[in-house]
């Protein structure tokens, strides 16, 4: 996935001025292999006059992709478009080279855990997963085997024979997840999969998603919980008001946000000296001692120049470094910089 920020015109057209300059909407990489990626080309969806998503260009590789944005930003619309539940008003999209118009091929490879908290009447957890596998055309034996395997993976074996109507919200979430993964998809799309889960189940789910990502799956996860997205995602797509505001690996996205100086925390043997030295540089906007007095928080417009300077100072002034770490190189910060405080509902 290339690292790109969205179109300023598009975003400001909906939300007012942004404190940074955006480049043009990301073009889909011409050299990407459509058969390995989820590709959206100039995809728009309008519900009458209401904008769902607009002119989305994405090429999503394997790994865990976080889809981040406030309510109404178009995350679910994007996921529904990818899975063919809704059709684009314009544009073209393929999932591993398959059009969503061919569900018979697409859903052999795709599992989608939607946000709809509804189930067919009267089903048990087991029959819910089992019935879907029978719809795949699998025989009874194979369906039973895969059902138990999926139930085990989401720790729902014990509750399998209870009616879904009696499940807690977290259990319903997990049984939907079991249904989405039961047929071993290569693309897993999860709409707010952590909603309603208790901390233990949340941690287990995160572990599962990361494991699936490492197995070479495409895992696309939308979530409101930024630090969890940060923890599990290999790359992120930031959305706002129906537009893709930024996409790519979070560090690279952060680097592109030039209007907000990078924050770097340096813990070292002589923070006072370091602060005075770095503050003399033009690209350093701020250098302040942290509360415990054992480090300096530097804000710089040129991180590469800062790291170079730091190397020189270490040698020249004999400062010993304990840690050097970006302090705002995470989804939360990038989200705040790009989407800002106007969308506090996230």
């Amino acid at each position: 996935m290339s690292t790109v920020l969205g179109d300023r015109e598009q975003v400001t057209g909906n939300r007012g001025a942004q404190p940074f300059a955006m480049t043009s909407t990301s073009p889909v990489r011409k050299d990407s292999n459509d058969r390995d990626r989820i590709v959206l080309q100039n995809v728009s969806k309008f519900y009458g006059e209401v904008l769902g998503v607009n002119r989305v260009n994405l090429s999503i590789p394997t790994g865990v992709t976080g889809l981040v944005g406030p309510n109404g930003s178009g995350k679910t619309t994007l996921m529904n478009l990818i899975t063919g539940l809704i059709r684009p008003t314009q544009g073209r999209l393929t999932v591993l080279g398959i059009s969503p118009d061919c569900p018979e091929e697409l859903f052999r490879k795709v599992g989608y855990c939607t946000q709809f908290d509804s189930f067919p009447k009267g089903v048990t957890g087991f029959s819910f997963v089992y019935n879907t596998l029978r719809l795949h055309g699998l025989d009874d034996h194979e369906s039973v085997r895969l059902t138990f395997e999926a139930l085990e993976r989401v720790s729902m074996t014990e509750a399998a024979n209870r009616k879904v109507a009696g499940y807690s919200k977290g259990m319903r979430q997990r049984i939907r997840l079991a249904q989405a993964i039961a047929h071993h998809p290569t693309v897993l799309i999860l709409d707010e999969p952590l909603n309603g889960l208790d901390p233990m189940a949340r941690a287990e789910s995160l572990e599962l998603f990361q494991a699936l990502g490492k197995e070479g799956l495409h895992v696309i996860i939308s979530s409101h919980i930024l630090h969890e997205v940060d923890k599990m995602s290999d790359q992120v797509i930031l959305m706002s008001s129906g537009y893709v505001v930024a996409e790519g690996q979070i560090h690279a996205v952060r680097t592109e946000v030039k209007e907000h100086p990078m924050q770097i925390l340096v813990r070292c043997s002589d923070p006072n000296l370091l602060a005075s030295r770095v503050f003399a540089q033009d690209h350093v906007v701020e250098a302040k001692l942290v509360d415990d007095g054992k480090g300096v928080l530097v804000r710089t417009r040129d991180a590469d120049a800062f790291y170079l300077l730091l190397n020189q100072l270490v040698v020249k002034d004999n400062i010993s470094l304990e840690t050097v770490a970006p302090a705002d190189d995470d989804v939360n910060s990038v989200y705040q910089y790009l989407i800002g405080s106007e969308n506090k509902t996230i």
Binding site: Y47, N80, T83, G84, L85, I86, R87, D101, P103, E104, E105, L106, F107, R108, V110, Y112, T114, F116, S118, F119, P120, K121, G122, N131, T132, R134, L135, H136, G137, D139, Q179
Partner: protein, 286 residues
């Protein structure tokens, strides 16, 4: 390669076995919903209300074999006026419009759409589920009505059914019931993909089926009851406005009358397949 050979090859290459398994899976899920849903109690009432009336008649009225002809005409009236025009019509409306629209209302249609099933196969599977349900309910209703009507005549009734025209009439009633379910079912299923509110398709089809007899004969052929009226085994002597429901101005052959609703249903289902391919999940809009 000739076109016919190409078509044959294309058909041979289709995954028929997979589709059959998928339709069986859809049937298994839908039949349970169709038969056991509390929402469908009124359809049971429609199917079996005449049975109750006929049973009361057989209990309280004296069984006089000379009355058998009258009872046969009464049964024909019940079938043509109640079952065909009312019970099966509204029963199919309830069953077939609910196949997709009900899933949308209960927000469970996406589970079907997220399975690797061709939308056309899904539609045919659901149609088959609706058909089995409606034919079973109304077929049993007609069978029970017929049985109760002749059972109280004792040996005379038995003779009429097994050695007279009775069995032929019963089979004709059951056949017409099945054809009515096929025809109405296809129409209501297709309309449910077009229109959200079932009252509107009901009114449209009811109006069409009622008044098509006064239209030119070519236009009448797009009506389900045009074919079914002529397949009914017992004609009812009616005058005035009621004749609108029973008289066929330009009858077709029996084979054409049987194939007519089937061809009509096939055309309507082909259109429904096109509609379901473009159907979007938009629960919020319901």
């Amino acid at each position: 390669m000739s076109r016919l050979a190409q078509l044959r090859q294309t058909l041979a290459e289709q995954p028929w076995e997979l589709w059959t398994r998928q339709i069986a899976a859809i049937l298994r899920m839908d039949l349970r919903k169709n038969f056991l849903s509390r929402r469908g109690i009124w359809i049971y009432l429609l199917a079996f209300a005449p049975v109750v009336v006929i049973t009361l008649h057989s209990i309280f009225d004296r069984a006089d074999p000379s009355q058998m002809h009258t009872d046969t005409e009464v049964l024909a009236g019940i079938f043509q006026f109640f079952y065909l025009r009312f019970g099966i019509f509204f029963g199919c409306l309830g069953i077939f419009t609910w196949l997709f629209r009900g899933e949308v209302i209960e927000k469970s249609l996406h589970y079907y759409f997220l399975a690797p099933v061709k939308r056309e196969v899904l539609l045919l599977g659901k149609f088959a589920g609706g058909l089995v349900t409606s034919v079973t309910l109304f077929g049993l209703g007609v069978l029970a009505s017929f049985t109760m009507m002749y059972a109280h005549f004792g040996a005379a009734g038995q003779y009429y059914v097994f050695s007279g025209p009775g069995m032929g009439q019963l089979l004709a009633y059951l056949g017409v019931t099945a054809l009515a379910c096929i025809g109405y079912g296809a129409v209501f299923l297709m309309l449910s993909l077009l229109i959200k509110n079932p009252i509107i398709p009901a009114a449209l089809v009811l109006g069409w089926e009622t008044f098509s007899p006064v239209l030119p004969s070519l236009v009448q052929r797009f009506s389900v009851t045009y074919y079914l009226k002529q397949l009914c085994p017992v004609s009812i002597p009616t005058d005035g406005l009621l004749a609108l429901f029973t008289v066929v101005s330009e009858p077709v052959s029996t084979i054409a009358a049987i194939l007519g609703p089937i061809v009509l249903a096939a055309l309507v289902l082909a259109l429904a397949c096109k509609l379901v391919r473009r159907f979007e999940i938009s629960y919020a809009a319901e």
